[in-house]
């Protein structure tokens, strides 16, 4: 952060005027021991804050009694996995998990594919109406659930898609794809045009160029788009509650909701369910997290 040995400060707190040019002893980009300590301190505190609610949930899920969350100290002595066993055996957990995975993975696959083609078209071809199209994509991000819910319900029931996975996948695509397309456009913009050109020269069709040259290069962007679609679909509550009627087709989010309203007092079971739900999505997250930094901002930085 700071090169001065006297006042190594955080950026919010500028050194007032004294710039002792103590260069040479340290290389650029490295900071003094005190600054490093402060950074570590702040980051550790932030990490604890980020970690604590999740860790707490896991901890509570191990307590066997429904009131254990009020007396967390007592859990240490009687930790058990009974709650998990109970949730797995006595609810439709696996049905819900199956629906959630079908819907989320369906959204991911369809969403990423569609977003990639769209992003490519918008990035490479300035076709008439392209500005308007981007504006519409942004606009769809602004629609509140409340205005779409009733009409969507009617359209889906006209199309016989209520209570079907495909219907929910399409709905989720409509929320995830605009952002993903925008993201992919940003990423494609960073891939030089010369590559397309080379593909053309070597006799590839436009689609061949896209599939065989550009897509492999855009892997980080695709990972982020996949992640975003997955998260969106996996964690969505409002649409899933309204559009899924059959108990066996509930997604995990809805299942947990119904579980909560039935067993409101049994917080230990709720905690266990919540932890079980968090596992698959967190696993997916950490699979793609390496690409997040590059993928997310590739477009934004170009402006």
């Amino acid at each position: 952060m700071s090169t001065s040995t006297v006042t190594p400060t955080a950026p919010a707190d500028p050194p007032a005027g004294d710039r002792t040019p103590a260069r040479g002893s340290r290389r650029r980009g490295e900071s003094g021991p005190l600054a490093r300590l402060t950074s570590h301190g702040v980051l550790t505190v932030a990490s604890l804050i980020a970690l604590f609610p999740v860790a707490w949930l896991v901890f509570l899920s191990l307590g066997p009694d429904k009131d254990d969350y009020l007396r967390p100290g007592g859990i240490w002595g009687k930790m058990t996995l009974d709650n998990y066993a109970h949730v797995l055996q006595d609810t439709n957990f696996f049905d819900w998990l199956k629906s959630s995975l079908i819907v989320s993975l369906g959204t991911t696959v369809i969403g990423v594919f569609v977003a990639a083609t769209t992003g490519y078209a918008v990035s490479r071809m300035r076709f008439p109406g392209y500005k308007k199209f981007m504006w519409v994509l942004l606009l769809t991000q602004m629609f509140p659930v409340a205005v779409l819910m009733v009409p969507m319900y009617q359209i889906l029931s006209d199309l016989q898609l209520i209570d079907s996975y495909l219907g929910l996948i399409l709905v989720y695509c409509s929320t995830a794809v605009p952002y993903c397309a925008w993201l992919m456009k940003g990423y494609f913009d960073t891939i030089p045009f010369e590559i397309d050109e080379a593909g053309r020269v070597d006799g590839l069709s436009p689609i061949g160029t896209f599939v065989r040259l550009i897509l492999p290069l855009a892997r980080p962007g695709l990972a982020v788009a996949a992640f975003y679609s997955f998260i969106t679909a996996f964690g969505e509550v409002a649409f899933a509650t309204t559009f899924m009627l059959d108990d066996e087709k509930y997604t995990l989010a809805v299942g947990l909701q119904s579980f909560v309203s039935e067993h409101d007092a049994q917080r230990n079971l709720m905690a266990a369910t919540a932890v079980l739900i968090a596992i698959p999505v967190s696993a997916f997250f950490y699979l793609v997290q390496k690409n997040l930094v590059t993928g997310l901002t590739a477009g934004g930085t170009k402006g």
Binding site: S39, S47, T140, M142, P144, A146, V147, A181, A271, S282
Partner: protein, 334 residues
Amino acid sequence: MTVAIDRATGKRRGDRAPRPGPVSRLKRGYQKYWYAYAMIAPVALVLGVIVLYPLAYGFYLTLTDADSLNSARTIGVNEIEATWKFIGIDNYADILWGETAYDRFWSKFIWTIVWTAACVALHYGIGLGLALLLNQKLRGRTFYRLVLILPWAVPTFVTVFGWRFMLADAGIINSGLDFLGMPTPAWLEDTFWQRFAAIMVNTWCGVPFMMISLLGGLQSIDASLYEAAEMDGASAWQRFRHVTLPGLRSVSSTVVLLGVIWTFNQFAVIFLLFGNTAPEAQILVTWAYQLGFGQQPREFAESAAYGMLLLAILVVFTSFYRRWLNRNDQQLAI
């Protein structure tokens, strides 16, 4: 621009004399860009069917008095015809300046604005701070990053449950505060603390996205700019002010806009944190959902009217935002 198109599609140029006229222009446009249109067709189709048509239909609904008692429905074997009728802009008039409009709309409107501003400011401020820290050469940097994105990795509806346990009357937070001899607010009952808790939880959920986006932005700033600034004797603050912030401008303007839109429409946090128990802490989105789906009879038309108002507010905001960016010689990445 034309060159680019030709490069990418490989369309031949100039082997046909351009002839003006709408039909041939359309034809030429089609021949030139068919590939682009084919590629965006799926999105356009899905958005058209699933979003734009419902939007138009939803707008029509706002001009009627539809609710769950007079809509078409099927009870057993009996099909009941819809009996709602067209009432023009009465819904909007009622919401905006009808009786008790302040309690129903304006108070929530103000709270929504406060909520959005506070959340986005906190997201951005904390996210930027953490991104700056993570952008240093620091031991354990990867580890910190992995932990810090955890709130994003775990689905919101799961983490909000965790927060509910923690914020409950005798939950860990109040026990801790009590232990330290501090007052223990009723997080989930008292209006002020409900709002406070909502902002706190949403901040916790939203920081990682900002942090990662800004981290990407920071990494793309050319290191030689910092070297040059340092050569010229710029202090840490001056480097931050004149190199880092301008370098982040285009990322920032984009993520702030997205942040405003998403926070304004943030449904899950408040809905899951309070359910129906906190009428005062509802922002407009959750309130609209409450009207349309959380009560009996369901007020479809009024709920949709709230939705249209929300959309209108966002569209107006975005237009001003874009204009403001343009005046400052910036372009949105979108």
